[in-house]
C-alpha cells in the first residue's frame, strides 16, 4: 500500500524539475494516459498493472525512478 502514490509523486517531481505549473500539467498528462492520479492516495492498494504503467511512463518521459 502506498507505493503507487510514492511513484507518481516522484515521477511528477522529476519531470517537472521544480516548476509548480508543470507539476499540474504532468499530473494531467498522467490522467490522459489512464493513471487516475486524483484518486490514488497513500491508502490505495497497489495494483501491479498501474505500477508497471508508471514505470513505462517514466521511461517515455526519460526519467529514472529511484524505487
Amino acid at each position: 500500500m502506498g507505493k503507487t502514490k510514492r511513484l507518481i509523486d516522484e515521477l511528477v517531481r522529476l519531470k517537472a524539475q521544480g516548476n509548480t505549473f508543470q507539476e499540474l500539467n504532468i499530473q494531467m498528462k498522467l490522467m490522459f494516459k489512464g493513471i487516475d492520479v486524483k484518486n490514488i492516495s497513500e491508502q490505495t492498494l497497489d495494483d501491479p498493472s498501474t505500477i508497471a504503467k508508471i514505470y513505462e511512463v517514466a521511461q517515455a518521459f526519460g526519467v529514472k525512478l529511484a524505487c
Binding site: 519531470k15 517537472a16 524539475q17 516548476n19 505549473f21 508543470q22 499540474l24 500539467n25 504532468i26 499530473q27 494531467m28 498528462k29 490522467m31 490522459f32 494516459k33 489512464g34 487516475d36 486524483k38 484518486n39 511512463v57 517515455a60 518521459f61 526519460g62
Partner: protein, 371 residues
Amino acid sequence: MNIKSVYSSHPEALRAVGEIKEQLSGLRANFILYFASSYYDAQSLASSMQEVFPEAVVVGCSTAGELTSGKMLTHSLVAMAFSEGVIQRVEIALASNLGKDTRAINKAVSGLEKALAHPLHSLDPDQYVGILLTDGLSGQEERVNDELGNLTNITFIGGSAGDDLRFEKTYLYAHGKVYSDAALLILLKPKAKFHFLKTQSFLPTDKVLKVTKLNEAKREILEFNHQPATVAYAKALGVAEEELDEHLFKNPLGLMFDPQTPFVRSPRMTENKSVLFYCAMKQNMSLTLLQSTDIIADTTAALQKAKQELEGISAIINFNCILRTLDLKGQDKTEAYGKLFTTIPTVGFSTYGENYIGFINQTATMLLLKE
C-alpha cells in the same frame, strides 16, 4: 505596431491574400499565422501567402469557420502578424505521414532541436510556447499530444484543422506548401509573458461513468460500469436508452482534474449499444457526466479573469471547437461571441478538436500574450 489581426472574405484566394497584404503593409512581420476556409484553393492560398510575406515564417491551416477581432466568420481568411518585438524567435517542424510513420513526432521534435541547437526537454517552459496544428481527419491527435508531452515540458496549445464540415480533407500550410495527414509544430519565444486559457461551458454532475470495455483506436466505448455503454450512459442521465442520442451534445463526459476544469470528451453518436466519441479514452478511466451551461457568459467570465491576472492582453489566438460554434449558431449567438474579442487583436478558427496537454473537445483553448 507589433501585432495586427486582419481578415478578408473575398472568395478568390489570390484576391483575399492581396487584401491581407494591403492591410498588413507597414508592419514588418517575422511570423504570420493564418486560418482559412477550406473553400479556398489550398495550394494557391499557401503559395501566395508565403510569396507576399517572403521574410516571415508563414503558417496556418484550413478551418470550419474563422475568428478575428470582433467577428466570427465563415468562408474567410483570417491572419495575425507579429513583429520581432513580440515574437523573438519562431521555429517550425512538420510531422508528416502521421498515419504510417510511428516516429513522425520524434523526427519533427529532432528537427526543432537541430534548428535550436538545444534539446527540447531542456528549454524553459516559461520562455517558450508551442502551437500545435493537426490534420483534423487524421484520428492521430491523442498520439501527437501524448508523444509531445513525453518529449518536452513546453506547453503546446492548438487545434485540429477543419474543412467546413465536409469531412473530406483538411490542410496544414507551411513554407508555401500544403500538407495533410500531418501535424505542424510551431515553437515560439515571445518577448512578453504568455498565458493559457481553457474554457468549456459545462458543470459536473455527481454521476461517474468508468470505462470498462473499449476500442481505443475507434474512439468507441463498449461498456461503462460493466454495462453496455448506452445503457449506463442513459441511466446516468435518467433518460430512456432510445432517447440518449438527443442528449449527447448537451451532456458530454469530463475527465476531471478538479471540479472547475473538466477535460471534455464529446460523444458523437450511439451505435449498437456502443458510444462513439470525438476523442479516445483509456481503460478504467473515470469520467464525470457534464451538464451544459452558457458559452457567452462563461467565456466572458474567463476572459475577464485572464485580463485581470495578466494586467492586459496584447493578442489572443483562439482554438474554438466547432461544436461550440454550432451551439452558438443554433442560439443565434455567433455575433455575440465574436464581440467578446473586439478590443483585443484576435485570430482563431473553429476546430475539429482542441489541443492542450491532451486532445479535448467542446472547449476553447487560447494562447494569450501579455501586453
